[in-house]
Amino acid sequence: MPEIKVTPLGAGQDVGRSCILVSIGGKNIMLDCGMHMGYNDDRRFPDFSYVTQNGRLTDFLDCVIISHFHLDHCGALPYMSEMVGYDGPIYMTHPTKAICPILLEDFRKITVDKKGETNFFTSQMIKDCMKKVVPLNLHQTVQVDDELEIKAYYAGHVLGAAMVHIKVGSESVVYTGDYNMTPDRHLGHEHVVCSAAWIDKCRPDILISESTYATTIRDSKRCRERDFLKKVHESIERGGKVLIPVFALGRAQELCILLETFWERMNLKAPIYFSTGMTEKANHYYKLFITWTNQKIRKTFVQRNMFEFKHIKAFDRSYADNPGPMVVFATPGMLHAGQSLQIFKKWAGNEKNMVIMPGYCVQGTIGHKILNGQRKLEVEGRATLEVKLQVEYMSFSAHADAKGIMQLIRMAEPRNVLLVHGEALKMEFLKGKIEQEFSIDCHMPANGETITVTTNPSVPVDISLNLLKREMALGGTLPDPKRPRSMHGTLIMKENSLKLVSSEQALKELGLNEHQLRFTCRVQLQDPHSDPDTLHRIYTHLKSVLKGYTIQHLPDGTVMVESIVIKVSSSAEDTNAKVLLLSWSYQDEDLGSFLSSLLKKGLPSGLC
């Protein structure tokens, strides 16, 4: 039985360093290649020695697919391709291809230049790695090789985020990456109005879904937005400073659009800053990839580009000490390094200030700690930092919640679900729900654990049109359950082709001679009639016994049952002792055999 194997190297019952290996139809695919924000040691990257102990990965992988540009999905890519060694194709969408190297370079700078780590990938490695990238368009069917095909779908998580359908023959797997089923202010798919991500009813053997918010059913987005604006507004009113740690692309744009419109409407004057560098560049990407944003933005972009902000200015680090209220968007989003962490340290001591965490924080990050109520922090080994400012959590990260995950399963109708990118306890809960509602198996492997799913693919075959048409004419399009009509043919297997033709055509096509196997059998019979009468009595007898068969009494003194020939002769000595000669071919073997034993029993007396 064919099998599909799935092994997470990262993101198995965990969030961070997403990296999932899939073996399907003899092909090996790596889905995402991320880093873990919670670790600074070896655990930061997936353990590629699982694939091979020594040597390069190229021989073991047919392709690598990156779902979107977040570092927990692509952060280990240059390490994997340039330091471990992989030269095969790496697939990602155009926006991901554009943005991913910039985030990788930032990541490298923070790690090497600021923290002084060595043995890390270099700028050149990032460039070399990106040369191996093959861009993917949405809905384009990409033929990786003759058998393996992949197709990207809109995931609505961040600009360019994609889900991917991987297919070999009739076996297939869908990998969601991170996705969002609720359309928002800047992302949304043209296909559907009511959800952001969208996929065909492609009935994959396995759906590999993220499950960040496996147990959450979020209240309406409108409420969350109102709540967010209210908190920001209140804090500004009382003269406080608001820090919003974000990742440069994604929620940042969403919240900027939100605040921009609010500032405009309320005529607010407090400055909004966006931390340096990335802002303008990031917004430029959104402008150039406007086709990836939602319908509304796309429709109006000629008149007014939503990504040209009036109220939001670039941030300079000196502004942090300015008096008076302000709102600052700063990177990164989990307060684990960089500018957001610096500002946080400055502002943490004042209870008038506020930090709003708009997304998920990985364990080990400061973001995670303060969200769990920790009020005293050890920051980089220095004195403890007293956290007095208000800490708010508001889930704006564009992940599907439990409802969204169920919705996607309904869309795709998979035969199995496999959960990754979530916490074990929450997964457990969702797994139960999925199994109950859809009656399908749901798996949640830990890192390094392999899930094997046996598939049962049907075999595509080319049937000769003659045979098909003949059968459809005889049997009609719908088979009759009471009298199943079977069709017969010969399957010719040559190299990779499978052809189903009639047996006669098969002989012809293969250039084979037909071998006739015939049987002749003499049956002795006592019947006091003339030979022709006996023959007629046989005819009448068979007529009554064999319903639904073609029986003919031919003028040349034979009876034919289908293609079985029956002749009568009598011996010279005893005219009542008849000899029946039965002759049939192998194709009528069952009937011939039946007839010979039937006639041996003699003819019933009642025959006329």
Partner: protein, 677 residues
């Protein structure tokens, strides 16, 4: 399979393909050359045009001077310009299931088809094709509605009158079916029926046919369509790699300008432009608002400084100028590699963004409003419509036509030859094609002399720089040799040299077998025999099959199965086991029940080798065998059993009386040596 040809214009095709019970329209081109028979629509009152004399029959019998005006010896219809629509009588257009669009020029007749024929299907196009097509339609509607004309001339269309008119009016075809431009409402409704597709996306139609657009490299988002079932492939028009093994190739939109090297032409364009400006004249470039203009602007971007044109204003005037320039920048995914790389920086893919930023290029929705106050001369103006019959270009013709300092530069092909241009055939091979990608390669055309006719006499200089990098005949022949389609279908114009150059046999398609030509209203029966269909064998049945090798590398298995057919998908599953026969009361009669044959016996092949067979018989205790040679084979006499076996090359005959078990044994032994099919 049948092909209905609804347009005779080789570059603005409209064909309908009936294939496997689906009806597919391939492109929906609008033949706009009909507008050349009409007077231009001026934006502001033109004393010259309004003073043109009416045309009167020589014998004075009929007076059509209200409808027909004469200018420089040619007769024009004074009415709202009308278009020649695709043929509507050839087949019932409401039966069309889908319309496939190759590029934005080939969809201009869409509202006529989707809104007025009972069409209920879906239109497939790529996103750039839809967006830019919408702009071109919007522009067309705007041009017409801006200067409404009360008069609708119809008398001249009367058959008896038309045949008395001078050419080319006399020879215009189907003038009664000519229609005025559609409305914006009809455009919106038509475009709401468009379903977007991406390159290489596979779309299933009714489970019977799969369609897929591939990049053709002709224009932003332009596609070649591959229409295929599992066993048949129709390519329209084409792309090399995926074209291989096509059964039918429908070929339209070739260039026939083998002498005009596009890069050379761009150079000529620039030098003519610079010369005119230096002499203090103005340059008018009639063009569509999307397409070649991006190329021209890119070329000028590199040229402006070196030619010392830094201070010359460049104007682009169209109701959709701004949208067109903006849209061109957001389709990076549809562009060539070089342009994609720019977006990664991030920089706009086309340099006209910089021309706009530095104020070198200005765009306006029309000559009214801001333009009239900011307008400086000498200058370069890009504007439409290329037919010179409507749009802002009419104004500039009236304004500049009288001075020999000014120049008009045509970049489209010469329509007189009716040879060139059209949809999506393009350079060889996808990759090479993308590298040499030049957004739009040419405009569907108007003869520039015909276009200029109602402005004669003209003092303005006239330059003709056809820019067309579509495939020429030499390239096509080479390509066809490589991809070897079984049949090629093309407009009849491609099968003979142009009338004006009848000796140029290189300006036609010569193929073996010869291509099948079509013209307007042709119905072609495509010689196409389907022989196979895809069927799926369900796993249970597949596992029960027993293959045997009949030749090295070739195995066969006999299959008995139940066929299920649903939505044009066929599956085979195992024959269900018959329910056990109900216990019969009359046991004796059971014997007489004829056998229920579930599977017929397979055909046999091969031969029974004598020696090996004898050995096998021996193993089964049959030792007394007398072998006689007879004819082609041998007769084996099993003396103890009084049974004969005749072994021949292509047959075996077992004669065995009254010993059913023996017969069955012998049968099975013989079968061991034979292959079953």
């Amino acid at each position: 399979m049948k092909l209905y040809c609804l347009s005779g214009h080789p570059t603005l095709p409209c064909n309908v393909l009936k294939f496997k019970s689906t009806t597919i329209m391939l492109d929906c081109g609008l033949d706009t050359t009909s507008v050349l028979n009409f007077l231009p629509l001026p934006l502001v009152h033109s004393p010259r045009l309004s003073k043109l004399p009416g045309w009167i029959f020589k014998d004075g019998t009929m007076n059509l001077e209200k409808e027909l005006k004469e200018c420089a010896g040619r007769v024009f219809v004074d009415s709202q310009p009308e278009f020649c629509l695709p043929e509507r009588e050839l087949l019932d257009l409401s039966t069309i299931d889908v319309i496939l669009i190759s590029n934005y020029h080939c969809m201009m007749a869409l509202p006529y088809i989707t809104e007025h024929t009972g069409f209920t299907g879906t239109v497939y196009a790529t996103e750039p094709t839809l967006q830019i097509g919408r702009l071109l339609m919007e522009e067309l509607v705007n041009f017409m509605e801006r200067v409404p004309k009360a008069q609708a001339a119809t008398c001249w269309k009367n058959k008896d009158i038309q045949r008395m008119l001078p050419g080319p009016l006399k020879d215009a075809v189907d003038v009664w079916t000519w229609k005025r431009c559609y409305s914006m409402q009809e455009v919106n409704s038509a475009l709401s029926k468009v379903q977007l597709v991406g390159y290489s996306q596979k779309v299933e139609l009714f489970g019977a046919v799969q369609i897929s657009p591939l990049s053709s490299g002709y224009s932003l988002g332009s596609s070649n369509w591959i229409i295929q079932s599992h066993h048949e492939k129709v390519a329209y028009p084409m792309d090399q790699s995926s074209l291989k093994n096509s059964d039918v190739l429908i070929l339209t939109g070739l260039t026939q300008m083998p002498t005009a090297n596009p890069d050379g032409m761009l150079g000529e364009f620039c030098s003519n432009l610079a010369m005119t400006i230096r002499a203090g004249g103005n340059v008018l470039v009639p063009c569509y608002s999307s397409g070649v203009i991006y190329d021209l602007l890119e070329c000028l971007y590199q040229f402006i400084e070196s030619a010392n044109l830094g201070t010359t204003p460049f104007y682009f005037i169209s109701p959709v100028a701004n949208s067109s320039l903006e849209f061109s920048q957001i389709f990076a995914e549809w562009l060539c590699h070089n342009k994609q790389t720019k977006v990664y920086l991030p920089e706009p893919p086309f340099p006209h963004a910089e021309l706009i930023q530095t104020n070198k290029l200005k765009h306006y929705p029309s000559i009214h409003g801001d333009f009239s106050s900011e307008f400086r001369q000498p200058c370069v103006v890009f504007t439409g419509h290329p037919s010179l019959r409507f749009g802002d270009v009419v104004h500039f013709m009236e304004l500049w036509g009288k001075s020999s300092l000014n120049t008009i530069i045509f970049t489209g092909n010469d329509g007189r030859q009716r040879l060139n241009t059209g949809c999506a055939v393009s350079r060889l091979g996808d990759d090479r094609l993308k590298d040499s990608f030049r957004t739009v390669l040419s405009e569907p055309d108007f003869s520039y002399l015909d276009a200029l006719a109602p402005y004669q006499p003209l003092a303005m200089k006239c330059v003709y720089c056809p820019i067309d990098t579509r495939l020429n005949f030499h390239q096509v022949s080479k390509l066809l040799k490589e991809v070897q389609p079984l049949h090629v279908v093309c407009p009849e114009q491609y099968t003979q040299p142009p009338a004006s150059q009848s000796h140029r046999s290189d300006l036609m398609l010569e193929l073996q077998p010869p291509p099948m030509p079509y013209r307007r209203c042709s119905v072609l029966n495509l010689p196409f025999r389907r022989r196979y269909e895809r069927v799926y064998i369900l796993p249970e049945l597949a596992n029960s099959l027993v293959p045997t090798e009949v030749k090295p590398g070739v195995s066969v298995a006999t299959v008995s199965a139940v066929l299920h057919s649903k939505d044009n998908k066929h599956t085979l599953q195992s024959v269900p086991k018959p329910p056990p026969a109900p216990p019969s009361k009359k046991r004796k009669r059971v014997m007489e029940e004829p056998p229920v044959v579930l599977a017929p016996k397979p055909l046999l092949s091969g031969a029974v080798p004598l020696e090996a067979f004898l050995t096998t018989l021996q193993k089964h205790g049959i030792t007394e065998v007398k072998v006689e040679e007879a004819g082609d084979g041998h007769i084996l006499h099993l003396q103890a059993e009084d049974t004969l076996i005749q072994l021949e090359e292509d047959g075996t005959h077992i004669v065995c009386d009254n010993n059913e078990p023996l017969r069955a044994t012998l049968r099975d032994l013989v079968l061991r040596f034979l292959q079953k099919l």
